[in-house]
Symmetry: C2
């Protein structure tokens, strides 16, 4: 619809036909889980435009329940089946835009026909019907398969409806796009909120009122919803011999042209260019789909414009937590064998002296050779979306990680800090880039200790007593100048609560003649988050 | 303190002396108004560090109530007066950092000695004493002079304390750094919240329980606080013949060096470089001061680093509203005779179909020749700080206004929209840059009508009936295709609620053969905001 409406504004005189297999055009996909949970109370609020409203305003010829079953590129016609009547007819085109989207993957397991997916209003209606009308007569238990963004939104909203929910994820963590120590914060919140989380688990069979896991566990499941990803709806393009990429996306150039220059593809069905690697990627997000719709209308209208490579900025809310990310994760970078510098921090969303400050966990991924920002992640109760948006903008603007330190972000005590969380990430990145300090990651401590390193916890004795890394010795920062000789020789791994006192200690020890001192990045809090103590 | 602590982390072996005339170092200046209002309940929460804590952690020799009364650059010594004893002594230096800040301007009017200012804890304590301890015995009326950021925070917090507050501002608007139509939203909220706002007014005399305005009005004023700006505290530098700029700031180079290479100046006392003009400017903000402290420590330590030019990003809260800005305002640009393209929008902070969405007013200032972003302003109940931070980051990254359209910002319905407010600003900017549409500003409509233009309100008859521009004719967008011939010849100024339907109408009319059609930027809402109907 963004392509069609933009094209009409560009060109009043074209004949624009919109063919839609489903019942609705222009509905609020991203709101569907929230109507399931009753947060969005009125179903009608999800319907943004109708064929009638689009005809009145934009003179669009919108035909719902009309499926394009074939594409004859030589004759430049599509074959349309009117689903109400079964009748087929041909519709000619000068320019054809394929915006067929993606469909939910359905696992191949016995009983999967009882499982719901959630992509459109019909899916949502089916879930609501399965949940039942009244509280007593309705479903009481649900299994959600897949703990990605949609799975987590579904779990939250089914809990809102009063169901006992089990969330099943094949990966070792929830929110697989995030790194495990960041996702762990969400995992904990899900459990605290009553969701039974089962990671490293797969549903292998669905029966009438249960779902069975691969370890034999039988879960009560009045309702089953799968949310295990989507694949491009590219069968039509494939049948028409348009070039389709490995994972099923239609291959397009920077003007969204397919291998046939009269045929364009946009949105979830189209292959995108990744901003970091320059390679092909699939990013099924509303923002990108929307923007490509606008772009293709301009291209068809003869404007010289190009698609922007994608960063994949995404956010999800879960029981009062916000988790957001942009760019690549550490595990993706490591899997691709790209060198990466990692920064974890635990800042407050606003000045600590102003009431209501909430801690968040932030993570920055940096190219150690160029200081380029490769990605970021954040989890917390407040202010996370803002920081990820700022970093996404910095990435688009080509700012180096160190330059985040000098961003001028709006500061008053209810909104941020004189050193905003994003500035702090930049300062740590700058210290690392300049060689002022060096750090180790939470997953590198065990190895360091096996190799003879000593972990020095520089927090107060009270903090140390309330929990620390196994084997860590305590030497509070403020006593370090006079007592540093007590520390054993060899490598020192300094740790504190979040990494800040550790930084001061690292600097101090280095200048007191210790040559091999590193700071535990993110401190005890990141480590604890990761190992789940 | 940021200079001293960073320098210590850089260099354990230097002797670092911090000389402070006042009673405290490292307190939360920006929190002072909120302790006056009782939002920050504990005074101690405002004290971030003490000389003792700084000695323990950073081995800093912090001497409060020690005033530097002279600077002998030839001998490299400062003359220090210990204010408790009156004793004077000399302290030598290799490198000297002047971080003397700024002091509040006090108007030269009879009785001003009864007026308070608010820069430090002593000022705050004096205000609290003047307000009185118990509710009954205490002050009941207050006059705040100056409706800038601090004046507005003071007004809000005095209202919180139960006082009847009059806010007096010499300029024709509150929040003079903003443009009038944006500040008008804050003005309205102040009045609705019980603040008596008096713009274009000056206090000319202060008596025991009243303040008198230049029009003769006598205002009840148990307490008077002036907040009419600050000037650099550069007397010491002037006496030492260091170069001082026109408005009293110490002139520095990109490494914060004054005209004497052993003497540095940072923070409110130092002249900054403006990011837009490259010229000298004074921006007394915590963020910049903080960053310059870190920078100068690195320079003194021999690191090759330079100060970043300032954008002046700022934010203020007032009775549930947030007002924020970055860069230059329209009036500042016009006063400097810089060409400017202006965009007003009224987006929601998050998807309209998700509960709790709040409208905001956004404004973008663009260089019409280069498409560079020159500034932005926002006012609203939610999400304003995020959008201004994103735009500030885009400016730092050198993104063009049109490129805001393609920023990938985190979208889920509780956080934003698939077309985020910042994206929308970019799309409008892109349409204007590409010549796809043209707009007029709210202050240009009168002139256009006098020159014979017709204002066409394309909203529904119901919306039109509830208020429109004087003389506007109504022709709803959805009827425009069939009824456009009813419109008179000559220039057409199209208007709607916020500019979006107006854009569609402008495009349509242009393609239907109307050559002179412009859209009223920001629609009726911006116009109404500005003219205060």
């Amino acid at each position: 619809m963004s392509a069609a409406t933009r094209l009409r504004r560009n060109d009043e005189h074209r004949h624009i036909v919109v063919l839609e297999r489903g019942t609705h055009v222009s509905f609020a996909n991203c709101g569907l889980p929230y109507h399931v949970g009753g947060v969005i109370q009125e179903r009608d609020d999800l319907l943004l435009q109708t064929p009638a409203s689009l005809a009145a305003r934009f003179r669009l010829d919108v035909r719902t329940r009309h499926e394009v079953v074939a594409l004859d590129r030589t004759r430049r016609v599509v074959v349309v089946r009117a689903l109400e009547t079964g009748e087929e007819y041909e519709e000619p085109y000068d320019d054809l835009v394929l915006a067929t989207g993606a469909r939910a993957v359905r696992p191949s397991i016995p009983g999967v026909e009882r499982a719901h997916t959630l992509r459109d209003l019909d899916d949502m209606d089916a879930i609501l019907a399965a949940l039942g009308g009244g509280d007593r007569a309705g479903a009481r238990t649900a299994v959600v398969v897949g703990a990605g963004f949609i799975g987590i939104e579904l779990a939250e909203n089914l809990v809102r409806r009063g169901l006992a929910v089990t969330l099943v994820e094949r990966e070792p963590q929830v929110l697989p796009p995030l790194d495990p120590e960041m996702a762990a914060v969400v995992d904990q919140r899900l459990r605290e909120s009553g969701v039974a989380v089962r990671t490293r688990a797969a549903v292998v069979r669905i029966d009438d009122t249960t779902a069975t896991l691969d370890d034999g566990t039988t879960l009560p499941a009045d309702v089953v919803v799968t949310a295990v990803g989507v694949v491009p709806e590219s069968a039509l393009a494939e049948r028409a011999a348009l070039e389709v990429g490995e994972r099923g996306g239609i291959v397009v150039d920077e003007q969204q042209r397919t291998s046939d220059p009269s045929v364009y593809a946009v949105g979830d069905v189209a292959v995108k260019r990744d901003a970091l690697s320059g390679g092909a990627t699939l990013v099924p997000l509303a923002q990108t789909a929307n923007r490509q719709g606008r772009l293709v209308a301009d291209v068809v209208s003869g404007r010289d414009v190009s698609a922007t490579p994608v960063l994949g900025t995404a956010v999800v809310g879960a029981f009062g937590l916000t988790a957001a990310m942009v760019g690549w994760s550490e595990k993706r970078l490591r899997a691709a064998e790209r060198p990466v510098r990692v920064v974890h921090t635990h800042p407050s969303d606003h000045a600590g002296y102003y009431p209501g400050a909430r801690a968040m966990a932030l993570k920055l991924l940096v190219d150690p050779e160029t200081d380029a920002i490769l990605g970021a992640q954040g989890v917390g109760e407040s202010g996370v979306d803002k920081r990820i948006d700022v970093i996404a903008t910095a990435m688009r603007g080509g700012l180096r990680a160190s330059e985040l330190a000098d961003l001028e972000l709006a500061y008053a005590p209810q909104y941020g800090s004189a050193k905003d969380p994003v500035n702090m990430l930049g300062m740590v990145a700058d210290n690392l880039a300049a060689g002022i300090t060096d750090s180790v990651q939470w997953h590198e401590v065990d190895r360091a200790m096996r190799d003879g390193a000593t972990v020095v916890d520089v927090r107060t004795p009270g903090e140390y007593a309330s929990g620390t890394l196994p084997g860590a010795v305590n030497l509070p920062l403020d006593e370090l100048r006079i007592r540093h000789a007590e520390l054993p020789s060899g490598r020192l791994v300094v740790t504190c609560a979040v990494g800040q006192r550790g930084h001061a200690a690292t600097r101090l020890l280095r200048q007191l003649g210790r040559t091999d001192v590193v700071n535990l990045d993110g401190g005890y809090r990141t480590w604890k988050q990761a190992v789940g103590v």
